[in-house]
Amino acid sequence: MTTVTATSPATADTSMEQPSGLTLFLRYLNRNRGLAVGVVILIALVLFTVIGLITINPKQAYPLSVATKQPPSLKYPFGTDFFGRNLLAAMVVGMWQTAVIGVIAGGLGTLIGVVLGFTSAYFGGWIDSTIRTVCQILTPIPVLLIQVVVAGSLDKRDVTIFTMALIVVMLAWMGPTLVIRAQVLTMKERQFVSVAKLSGVGDIAIIFKEILPNLLPFIAAAFVGQVFSAVFASFYLAVLGLGPLREPLLGNIIWAAQLQGAFFNGWWWWPIAPSIGMILILASLALINMGLDELANPRVRKTE
């Protein structure tokens, strides 16, 4: 019998350096132009908001602060509206508030979805059937209605962008829950979970350390979906006369412009700026989401 011994390597340089994370990320972006565009837009929006918040006078985001109905000019790059808001200031503040609603609602909705989805799928049994049944029952119910009723029942001063976000979350967790649950179900059948068990890893650690990281693309997708519905829901609530109407939320500005017949009156700049803002926010997220698809499926990664 021969024993196997590794002969010492003759070539000196054998270990290959993994390129740094940043390099890999940049290369990934280069291959995924959509993702790159999404990231660039997002960064631009963040910069716009951050620099804006530092430089503009937030008072001008509210009515009666500047001359009314001014078309875009050097002084007012986005123009001013019927009520005498500087639309640049309104956009900065509105973008920020819209982002807050989106992120809070998206974050919370996703968090609930992740927690319930994991609990449901990982532990199975009656927990699973309860959570799943509740989700499936609630899914066909039009969410907006419930949101409208709740928003309408609150004291107006309690309707802030934060409560708006919570209202949106209230019935928006089922989607992520079901998606995450389905993913965990397939994930937990994967053998690396068995291996982790064999390695003495406990249930909780398996959930957080083995399964969760792999679901990040799905969680990100759920998050994006939540942000979408949050931003849209805040818009619909504005349409129904609910929500914090004084705040320059993008949806509120758009709807105010609509109520004053902005297009008909030739004040085209009034609805345009917030609409583009909204499109950019949501589209950048959609593009990023599209880019993440590839991450979720190693088979189609264009490189090893």
């Binding site: 196997v4 054998t14 994967r190 053998q191 068995s194 003495g200 990281p213 190693p298």
Partner: protein, 283 residues
């Protein structure tokens, strides 16, 4: 009372899907005793779908028997709790069939080795851990600096399978279930890996259940063999005897179909072209 593992009359029935009313009997009234003081290598062989992996999963406690029981050191494995359970987890290890699925794609391959070291406190220090890993990897013919720090998809199937074996070597369990550990590697690597397993058995007294459909390697590695056919044990015994002198018709076909890398030993005369090979063999 010093049986490491005892499988008593275990039957496993899969209820396939929600939509289907059909049940699949994957393993039927299986019995096995592995004594503690006499470690051996046992081969479980059989065609695809004959219940080999099912047996492995049962022993590892990942699925529960439909009927019958599996005793580890005299205790039913489903009832193990606390320290006993930890010991069972520690002492019964596996090399899984699919060398890709066992890696968590999120982590580098180190994860597979560092986690058990940490969980079972196998090393006193980081340096000690690293030494142990290096040792195990070298034993399966891998250069640690070559594989550590890489992601699973950056390694070849053979490399992945060997890291799995390295993990088993590192843990030095009491019972190792190796499910097709060499199915994806070429002949020379196959020799290397089996060699390492054999060494583990010899040097550390590890009992190994070697699962395969490849009777050539089974013949070389194992002491005894159990042949499964559609969940039934059709033949069991000393490997030399069974392969050289198979009794059951199915075993005969199996042995006959071994493609020996020997030009003088042609594939047998049994015609297996009979329609879809659906000829039934009864235990």
């Amino acid at each position: 009372m010093s049986n490491l593992l005892e499988i008593r009359n275990v039957t496993k029935v899969y209820q396939r899907g929600l939509l289907s009313a059909h049940a699949k009997v994957a393993l039927k009234e299986f019995n096995l005793i592995l004594p503690e003081n006499d470690p051996s290598i046992l081969t479980v062989a059989g065609e695809s779908g004959s219940g080999k992996t099912t047996l492995a999963m049962l022993v590892l406690g990942f699925i529960t028997p439909t009927t019958g029981e599996i005793l580890y050191r005299g205790k039913n494995i489903t009832t193990l709790r606390g320290a006993e359970r930890m010991a069972y987890r520690r002492e019964v290890q596996a090399v899984f069939q699919d060398p890709f699925a066992v890696f968590n794609p999120f982590y580098t391959v180190d994860h597979l080795l560092t986690v058990p070291i940490k969980q079972f406190k196998l090393a006193k220090s980081g340096k000690d851990a690293r030494n142990k890993m290096d040792e195990a990897l070298t034993a399966v013919g891998l250069r640690p600096e070559d594989v550590l720090g890489r992601f699973p998809h950056q390694l070849s199937g053979g490399q992945r399978q060997r890291i799995n074996v390295a993990r088993a070597l590192l843990l030095k369990p009491k019972l190792l279930i190796a499910d097709e550990p060499v199915s994806m590697v070429d002949a020379s690597l196959r020799a290397n890996i089996l060699e390492s397993l054999k060494n583990l058995h010899r040097d550390h007294g590890v009992t190994i259940i070697y699962i395969t459909h490849d009777l050539t390697t089974a013949y070389h590695v194992a002491d005894t063999i159990t042949v499964l056919y559609r969940g039934d044990v059709v033949e069991k015994g000393d490997v030399e005897t069974v392969i050289r002198n198979p009794q059951h018709a199915y075993t005969r076909l199996l042995v006959d179909s071994i493609p020996w890398p020997n030009l003088d030993q042609k594939w047998g005369q049994h015609s297996v072209r009979s329609k879809e090979s659906q000829a039934e063999f009864h235990a």
